[in-house]
Amino acid sequence: MTTSTRRPHRTTAALACAAAVALLAGACTGSSEGGAKDDASKDTTITFWHGWSQPSEVKAISDNIAAFEKLHPNIHVKVVKNVTDDKINQALRAGGSDAPDVVSSFTTDNVGKFCASGVWADLKPFLAQSHIDPATTFPAAMADYTQYNGNRCALPLLGDAYGLYYNKDAFKAAGIASPPKTLSEFDADARKLTKATANGYSRLGFMPDFHGYESTPTHFLGQWGATYFDKNGKSDLAADPAVSAMFQWQQKLVADLGGFQKLEKYRTGFGDEFSEKNPFETGQVAMAIDGEWRTANLKADGVTFDWATAPFPVPDDQAATYGRGYQTGTIIGIARTSQKQNAAWELVKYLATDTDAVVSFANAIHNVPSTFAALKSPKVDQDPNFRTFLDIAGNAHSSTTPASINGGAYQVSLQNFGYKYESGQVPDLKAGLAGVDKEIDAAIAQAQ
């Protein structure tokens, strides 16, 4: 018996030792450090990751890259398309030779994470060396959403602005002369435009449900200019009257248009957002909140009705701010692990600040240009329906969702709350929002 009990002990001990050794190895998880010691005039190849995938978009970006390579014959760019933030995050942590030098992301959500963790390199030295002042180069909201706590690790690469799309034929038929400017006008128009049937609608004025594609809490809150965090960085949704006002407005509109159940049922008949089956394009809804890219889709899909764009209406008590909207955009930066940061900067600088590059790219993919110079350029698409969005982007009241250390998690928390609220599962709005505040603060504390 003695021998038979001793042996397993030894094996266990050996296993534990092996595990401990391996553990120590695992704990030394230093990351490879990049640097700006490369010579950007030497022959070199850099890797650029972006998220665009549609053929027209991919072509636009490769045209841009080709123009860059002509200007810098010594720098070759290897382009990798169709990359999401998850992959960027993961690859930059892993380091390695396949990791990108220049990265771009479709959302501004992760700027806080990218900047605070140092995943993206600080651009201040590069900007100083190239004599670029972000405050005079980029519109305020765009300059703001590309930095976090004074740490500038990204530049805007085209932007998106949100406004109102409306069906002019439906407006005419309903006797509405001009697009609504305040939310009470908007609500009245939405009711007028709605044609209810026994158990649905033959047409809906507006889809207010938070799942109705772009009709999310954060997009609506752009009309109130919500700030999300107080000056100590604590979530202040419950304290901010704008947030409660938005939810109350949405709830009332949902009730006015037939109630949540009926609207949700109608919503499941919507086709995919990015297709010709989009409910605004099919005429299922007469008004929609959407980004500037929809102007291009509407043209490409050849819709049969007459449509136009306008800023989304604002709350009645803030009528003076009409013209504002929610703003976001694509961002570009340099991987901290990159060994070729100087060459990478040349590309970033070109894509984000060269007026011709920004304008031609914006025109090609129908996004809002992201520099003052480009916004003013006569070469920008002059279509009035598109210009609506340039004006929204240039509006001083336009706002964005601020960067947070844990990315867009706070927006997701708010959105999840919105779904609960609109389906009637939240009896007390204030208490509910206080709960969301707590959840957001806990997640931020956990990330620090």
């Binding site: 038979s4 042996r7 397993p8 094996t11 190895a25 695992g26 998880t29 990351s31 995938s53 990798v80 169709n82 990359v83 998850d86 992959k87 993961q90 690859a91 942590r93 892993a94 380091g95 390695g96 030779s97 396949d98 086709g271 995919d272 990015f274 297709s275 010709e276 089956k277």
Partner: protein, 296 residues
Amino acid sequence: MTDALPAAALRARPTPAARAARRRTALHWIAVHALGVAAALFFLLPFVFLFLTSMMSDQQALTSDLWPHHWAWGNYSKVWHTPGFLTWWRNTLLYAGLGTVLTVVSSLPVAYALAKFRFRGRRIALMAVISMMMLPPQVVVIPMYLFWAKQLHLSGTLWPLIIPMAFGDAFSIFLLRQFLLTIPREYLEAARIDGCGELRTLLRVTVPMARPAIAAVALFQFFSCWNDYFGPQIYAGENESAWTLSYGLESFKGAHHTNWNLTMAATLLVMAPVIVLFFFAQKAFIEGVTLTGVKG
């Protein structure tokens, strides 16, 4: 035995009691087969719908018409020629093929030792195998990912998924051991008396006898690699040229939002090899499943 019963029941000229009994049997036959057809519809109709949709034009795939207006075989070649699709195929074959070979080679000796050697700690070892088999892969993924990505710089490749298979796979070890237990000791003794070492006994006697189990293990492993989504998502996700079909298929859907016809064609192209392989190896497969179901 009841194979030809309904026909026979009609032909015979029996007593009333026997007739009633036969009618009952016939009714029983009808009831069972009606249920069978209903179940078969449940299992097969989704395939039919997927196939029909894959044959439609872009527009029709979004309508309520179930039958293609004209058969768009071109959808399949469109999918086949999607950039990346061939690479995903190659990667999946590499992952599944290499993984299967490595698993069988490394698992067989372990299973043999567990089934046929008497040694202290055998029970513990077996329990450890079963525990590992039941372990959700997500439990250890964080340290494993850090290990492969940060120590060995192998993220963006499939090697973090292939290399571990050279060190035995718990499920394969278990299944092989279950089968090896059924090989009578006398065969192995005979081989030993003939002067074979253990390794030669394993190769000369056990392997030929265990061929069905080895085939089953190989098939299971091949399928599990082919179907794997989590592994490629974690390790290969960042590098499109290392994607496998399962992972690539998801992004294909993303790129073709409303083109359900193309997505369904791609989906069927990913299913096809598995199904074809199954038809060739049906017997081994079903035996394998039965083995895992464990005979006491």
